[in-house]
Symmetry: D2
Subunit: 280 residues, 4 copies
């Protein structure tokens, strides 16, 4: 499926200020960039770095005093595998690829070490597999209120499990923490999200599972707000700390980001009910 | 019902050390002290204070260097009201006696302010009354593991709701925090607990409800370990901070306390299934 | 010294809503109410309760749907003792009046139990006495930024000691927690505060010390924003949970409170540099 | 300088249990492995993975029921650069290599986001450079008690800054969190530590600074317990989560690890007082 997407970010700084952005979409087998363009106003030099272990594309721009705007547009082909959820199992610790160990560790906003007993008591008796991760998402959806402004940049899964409110970032963090607590590698994904209303940068998560086409990352959205087969990945990481769309090194004023994404041709197709595998 | 009970506490200090104890049972209409005796080894002067708003009996003893032992024994008649749980409701905020407001406030180990959404989401839809508080206890019993050593003196309800393990103190704190979050006054109770096995100082909680005999405090034990009509109260307070059985002001060595309680005559009677009202 | 003071509070509710207020000033030997009046618009019945152990005066009013305004005015004579700070010492645990034990316990927003080592390492080597408590206030003043909006109703001393920002409530909580951690009884005080700019309800704390006129409560303001001899007490408590100026039991809209206080005659007198003892 | 070092780890499991170990030393320009050997009792297959971005060497071993012992020995040449601390500065955000951004992010045990104000208030006015990081270490050394058993696997920098006690792991976490809060990339290092008494696995941290030989990682030990030029690195990571020496996937019994390290020839040389740069 083909998507046209983009974002427009506006800032004002008073002193020269370096910014790191992560707004460009990633490139990997299931996600092909057909075209893209990045426009800075005023224009200026860009430093780029693509993180080898994640494919995240980071930009650094040193912004001069005054107004600054970054506009990014892309056309992307998305071809995730749509698979039968019932055929997808978990992976025993003895079989986990060693390079995914980092996605089992607790991280700043996903304190899986403090949530182990909770995770085991609540989900430990369910049969392992895709449906168990889906049950975690259902539990989050049923037990946490989605309320804009109810959390902030310091809010973590440990807070959310008790306070029971948050936004997509918090829902994803809690899903990740609970998966890791059960021994399921999980990672945070920032994305342009088709059908998310209102449009915004979205956060979901992926769990490493073993399905009919082998081991790979399956995407989950505990907010149930976006189409799982319409998530165009920007970055993956251990948690939100790693994939902020904008990190300014200094005081800035900003406007809310504008974000958009349109599906081509099949915008009225029903959302998939299959499991969505994004990457091996 | 008549109980013989007591405790024996042993300490060793190296410098003169003041101790505050709260081990003597309280006296109130439903709890009559038939006889009691307190023995200090070595003997020495005792300062006493009974807190007017709670009836808690505090002792201060200045212990000289060396070994110190306190032994307390009492015979107590317990006559709580046993009432039909279905006839017991909650009390509207407009009708709450103003003097119980303190038992609605969050306290050190019962952060009801941080657990409001959780409490409302989990128990808010249940019909108000004794059975709702009982449902809170059932939830705690079903979702928190009773594990000796899994918590410490710093553990609070906010921790327990996530970590899902604790001892009687933690079970009581969580019950109190959830009640207060729902607008139900609740207080911590330390007690000699009939049939608790192994015997020890026990912690339960009381909620203020409105039953067939008027407004009063009803006792709840979310550990389900003791007979609710066999709890001889030592102290009540906002949480464990207020009713420590021993507070030494200095470094001490100690042995585990010995605690005992025997019911007279009817030690084989079944535990009551009625609601137990201790105090108006 | 005589003060004219008052507050005006405005709310709007959609359903009948009980409110508890604590805005009327306390009466005790060093604080005499010359005159006062309370006006409700619309008028209605008031329930009153004065807490025996604190003297706090609580009002309950059941507010009908619509706009509601409470206006309180009083003229108060304040005669605290002004004493030489150097002559004021701490009180050994063996000598503490037993009825102040509650002000040594950790409370919701003053987790003295978690701050013991910090308190001892930072202030443990200072000579005990008024000046040690003053040093705690200086440390808070020097190390915590006073920033409106940087904390909220859930913020506690444990947070403030690390986050290093807050408002008067947080400064008082931290002072209390550090005193208790050192064995000094301390309590939270809400007050009308002369010379506080801009005027608002203020929060300070009192520590129990032993001076030339015997044991008593000495007031401290770590914000250094108000005149210590111009604090007209509304309530005292273990922490802010106990002396909220307004507790509505339901959803309300409100305007920021208006608060005022004027000193009569000597409004240009210098602030006292003596220790201020309010109550024995 | 040449070191002979090793460790011996003993476990007992009741069911087949996968273990991941990170006890083998890393290989990089300043650290050459002359010889090493790994011995398993009973012997069995080993899976290996070296993490590209860190050089950490992970082993996975599937342990059969019964006793299991791993013994590792190595001879290592260590040639860190010893440089003049005064010539070493910090790196402006605009100049930071983009691949070290991950070491600026908050992590599970290093919540730099929650410690920003504290870090800036305490260390923000110091001149940037090696000596500022050294001042952080001095502050930790002066304000945190090194007490075995005073912290556990869940303890984080946010806890330590308030509780003021911990072990090498906690000292390192706090140093890392404070550096990151000031914009200095910092990473956790597990090591065999020459002259550490008693011998054990040690934890220190490295900060990215700019010295006479260019940008690189400088090692800091806020415990002041080991020789900074005698730290043989096992692993680096964002915090302890990433470089646990042993991660069993299941219940195990274990003995305390035996760890040893000897310097060859110059065991009586004084500890270096220069800055120690380990890696570019």
């Amino acid at each position: 499926m083909r998507f046209s997407l983009g974002s427009s970010l506006a800032y004002r700084v008073e002193t020269p200020t370096p910014f790191v952005f992560n707004v460009e979409v990633a490139q990997f087998p299931a996600q092909t960039i057909c075209s893209e363009q990045l426009q800075l106003t005023p224009s200026g030099p860009i430093e780029r770095w693509t993180m080898p272990e994640s494919g995240n594309r980071y930009l650094r721009i040193n912004v001069e005093p005054g107004d600054f705007r970054l506009r990014y547009e892309a056309v992307v082909d998305l071809n995730p595998q749509l698979l039968d959820a019932n055929a997808i199992g978990e992976i025993a610790a003895a079989e986990l690829p060693l390079e995914v160990l980092t996605h089992l560790y607790p991280s700043r906003y996903c304190q899986s070490d403090k949530l182990e007993r909770f995770a085991r008591r609540t989900f430990g008796a369910l049969p392992p597999g895709y449906e168990r991760v889906n049950s975690i998402c259902n539990w989050i959806y049923d037990n946490v209120d989605y309320i804009l402004g109810s959390s902030d940049a310091l809010t973590s899964a440990f807070d959310t499990v008790t306070q029971r409110s948050g936004v997509c970032r918090d829902f994803a963090h809690l899903g990740i923490a609970l998966c890791r607590a059960l021994g399921i590698p999980a990672r945070y994904v920032s994305a342009y999200a088709w059908r998310l209303d209102p449009p915004d940068f979205h956060a979901v998560f992926e769990a490493l599972l073993n399905g009919p086409t082998g081991i790979g990352w399956y995407v989950f959205d505990p907010t149930r707000k976006a189409a799982p087969n319409g998530l165009v990945r920007i970055g993956v990481g251990r948690d939100a700390a790693e994939v902020a769309f904008c990190t300014p090194f200094g005081a800035v004023e900003f406007e809310p980001p504008e974000v958009w994404i349109e599906g081509e041709g099949d915008a009225n197709a029903p959302m998939t009910t299959s499991a969505v595998k994004t990457e091996a």
